[in-house]
């Protein structure tokens, strides 16, 4: 009985402390793509939010950077993306915490 409770406690502690990993996101156009030498830069921006219920249950929090960046890329179309700025914010929501990632960047049309 004692061994079982120790095992359960260990498994629960490991599960809680193991945490969660977010999705890695490549920001900005890669340097393998030639930089535009002229062209007008236009500002683009996007935001995605998630919610951490009761500290432990992530709802859209782990991929919010990826979601926001996908939206940014969609706005840029085929334009060159640079000067990517990231802002993180959070808000207290009584039963959990909301986390938001806002991205703004410049989209430059080549030529």
């Amino acid at each position: 009985m004692k061994i079982r409770s120790i095992r359960l406690t260990t498994i629960a502690a490991a599960a809680l402390l193991a945490g969660c990993a977010g999705t890695p996101v490549q920001l900005g156009t890669r340097t393998s793509v030639p930089m535009p030498t002229s062209g007008v830069a236009r500002p683009i921006s996007a935001e995605a939010c998630g919610f951490q219920l009761l500290l432990l249950i992530p709802i859209n929090t782990n991929d919010r950077l990826a979601t926001a960046y996908r939206s940014l890329v969609a706005q840029a179309g085929n334009d060159y993306i640079t000067d990517v700025e990231v802002q993180e914010s959070w808000g207290y929501r009584l039963v959990g915490t909301s986390y938001c990632t806002a991205i703004k960047a410049k989209a430059i049309k080549s030529g």
């Binding site: 809680l16 402390l17 193991a18 945490g19 969660c20 990993a21 977010g22 999705t23 890695p24 996101v25 490549q26 920001l27 900005g28 890669r30 340097t31 930089m35 951490q52 009761l54 500290l55 432990l56 992530p58 929090t61 782990n62 950077l65 640079t82 000067d83 990517v84 700025e85 990231v86 802002q87 993180e88 914010s89 959070w90 808000g91 207290y92 009584l94 039963v95 959990g96 915490t97 986390y99 806002a102 703004k104 960047a105 410049k106």
Partner: protein
């Protein structure tokens, strides 16, 4: 009317006036505290924008892979009290700075990748940002 009645009536008016003054003062204090708390809770919850993928210069030298991390926490205790930020709002800026500093002589990064992990540490939760990229100068 007796002199003592007049004296009592005057005392009552003074007491009433003090009571009203105290109530007004308490209301003002409660309002001020509410405004201060609301401002602290709402204003302390956003980082500044950090440029993590700046426009590279026309000519640059590649110095190799760079990596930097920074963690911040939101604590302490249970959820209802879990609103004290500890290095949470500066984690992106610090991670980028650490990544640039990880390669001597680097001035910026290109081909940047960013990710965020989180874990729970009983009386709070921590979020760690990792920035990787190629250091340039």
């Amino acid at each position: 009317m007796k002199a003592s009645d007049l004296e009592n009536a005057g005392r009552d008016r003074v007491d009433q006036s003090f009571a009203n003054g105290n109530r007004r003062m308490k209301n003002k204090c409660a309002t001020m505290i509410s405004v201060i708390v609301a401002t602290a809770l709402s204003s302390a919850c956003a980082s500044t924008y950090t440029n993590v993928a700046p426009m590279p210069p026309k000519e640059f030298h590649r110095l190799g892979q760079a990596k930097g991390s920074a963690c911040g926490s939101l604590g302490i205790l249970a959820t209802a009290y879990n609103f004290i930020p500890m290095a949470l709002n500066s984690r992106v800026e610090t991670a980028y700075g650490n990544a640039v500093a990880s390669v001597p002589g680097a001035t910026a990064l290109v081909d940047v990748t960013m990710k965020e992990d989180w874990y729970w540490w009983v009386i709070g939760s921590a979020r760690c940002v990792t920035v990787t990229g190629e250091a340039i100068k």
